[in-house]
C-alpha cells in the first residue's frame, strides 16, 4: 500500500488504523507516508474507508511481496489452502476430516499474534527448533508451503525478510512427545523479536475429559479458561482409526 501524494490532504485520519503503526507524518518531507518495509499489506487502512481523498493506493505485488497480503489480509483466500485467513480448517472440521485422532495433538504457534506482526525469519527459527523434535508440519498450512525442507523447517531464503501480520506454524504430534515439544519451544523464545499465541487441539476422551491439559500445565503453560469446541455436528463423520 502507498499514499498517493498528489491526492493526500494530510488529514492523518488513516494513521491510527494501521495495525503495524506504519503510517506516520514525515516532518522532513511534509508528507503522510507508509513505511513500505513495515507495511504488511493487510489492506486495513484502505478497507476502513476513512480517506476523504481516496489517496490510499494498492500497488501491484509480485512474489515474494505478495506473501504479505496472503498472510495478512483475511479476505484473501490463501492459494495453497483455499481457506480465507492464515491457518487451515484444523479442529474446526475435525469430526468430518478426522485430522486429529485420539492419541494425537495439534499444536499451532501463531507468530505475530496478537497485533504485533512477524518477520518470516523469526517464523523459521521456531519451525527449525520444532522440527528437531520430529513434528509433522501440516502440509496444507501456508507456512509449511514456504519451507524448503519440511524435515528441518528451513524456509526459502527469498521469503525470510517478508513481514506479515501473522504466520502460523502448525503441526501434529503424538501426545507422548508433547512435553519435549514444549521444552524446545520455550528454548527458542528468547531468540525471536515478536510475540506468539499458542494453541493446543485434541479429541476429547470418551468421558468428555481433555487428555492434554495436564501436560501443558506441567510444562508451565497456563491453560486459558476460554477455547474453541467443535460440537461434532458435521456430516459425514470421519471413520475412527
Amino acid at each position: 500500500m502507498y499514499i498517493d501524494q498528489e491526492k493526500c490532504i494530510q488529514c492523518e485520519a488513516c494513521i491510527p488504523y494501521c495495525p503495524m503503526r506504519a503510517i506516520a507524518y514525515n516532518k522532513d518531507k511534509d508528507a503522510v507516508e507508509i513505511d513500505f518495509e513495515e507495511c504488511v499489506e493487510c489492506g486495513v487502512c484502505k478497507y476502513a474507508d476513512v480517506c476523504p481523498a481516496d489517496a490510499l493506493t494498492q500497488q501491484e505485488m509480485e512474489y515474494p511481496r505478495i506473501l504479505r497480503s496472503q498472510f495478512s489480509n483475511p479476505l484473501v483466500s490463501h492459494p495453497g489452502t483455499g481457506v480465507p485467513g492464515r491457518g487451515t480448517e484444523e479442529m474446526k472440521t475435525n469430526e468430518v476430516t478426522g485430522r486429529f485422532k485420539r492419541g494425537m495433538v495439534g499444536v499451532a504457534v501463531e507468530m505475530g499474534r496478537p497485533g504485533t506482526g512477524t518477520r518470516l525469519f523469526d517464523v523459521e527459527k521456531v519451525a527449525m527448533a520444532l522440527a528437531k523434535e520430529g513434528v509433522h508440519f501440516e502440509p496444507h498450512n501456508p507456512v509449511t508451503q514456504l519451507m524448503e525442507d519440511v524435515n528441518t523447517g528451513k524456509m526459502k531464503n527469498e521469503v525470510l525478510n517478508e513481514k506479515t501480520l501473522s504466520a502460523i506454524v502448525e503441526f501434529d504430534i503424538p501426545q507422548s512427545k508433547l512435553a519435549e515439544v514444549f521444552y524446545s519451544l520455550k528454548k527458542v523464545i528468547p531468540e525471536i523479536d515478536t510475540v506468539f499465541s499458542l494453541d493446543l487441539a485434541c479429541r476429547l476422551n470418551e468421558d468428555g475429559s481433555n487428555p492434554v491439559v495436564k501436560i501443558a500445565e506441567e510444562a508451565g503453560f497456563k491453560v486459558s479458561v476460554n477455547g474453541k469446541m467443535n460440537v461434532g455436528l458435521g456430516r459425514p463423520l470421519a471413520k475412527e482409526a
Binding site: 483475511p74 479442529m91 494453541d199 485434541c202 479429541r203 467443535n230
Partner: protein
Amino acid sequence: MTHTLHRSGSYESLTNDYVIFAIAAQTVNAKGIAPQFKAFADIVLKYNPVNFGDMKTGNVYGVGIDDIKAGYKDNSIVHAVFNDQETLTKALQEVKDAHLDLSIVLSGIVEHSHQCCSKTDITPHTVEHSLGIHGRLDYLPDERVLEISTMCGHGMVAFSLIEDFAEKVAKGRLTPEKAGEKLAKQCHCGVFNTKRAEKLIADIAEGLKKS
C-alpha cells in the same frame, strides 16, 4: 490456527462473549453446501446476535446484512456473536435440529460450551485451548486494549485505533457505543463483540479522564 481462540480477558469479562460459527470441510463436504450456510444464518439471526458476518464477504457493520446474505459460498465461514449463554444454547439447539451437515464450533469459556452441549444433548468432539501469549510481551499494550483487540483474531483492530477512540470517548467526541461499532467494522469476519468492546472502551476512557 484460529481467529476466535485467543480472546484475552478475565473469566468475568469473557462470560459475556460467545461465538458460534459454521464451516465446511473443503475436501469432504463443501461442494454445493452454500445453501446450508444460509439456513445456519437464518437460525442464528433470529436470536439477534450482537455481531454477524461471513469471512468471504464481511460483517454487518461493514458490508451490511444484505451483501452477506447474497454472498454465501461453499467456502464461507459464517459467525454470530452472543452476549449470554442462554441465547447461545437456544440457537445451538435449533442449529442441531436443522441437521445442516456443517461443522459447528463454539468459542468462549470452555466450561460454558460444555454446559451448552449438555443442555442440547450434544457430545462435543474436539477442543482447542489457548496457552497464552509468549515472547516479546513488552510489545503488547494495556490489558484492556488487548481484550478489545483480540476479539478480532486476525489483528484487523489496531491497538492504536483503540487508543485513539478511547481518547475521543474521554474527550466526549465519540460515544462508547459508536466506538464499539466502528471497531467492529474493521473485523471482517464479524466475530468482534461490540457490547463487550463498548464497556471496555468506556472503562479505558474513564481512566484517561482521571489521569
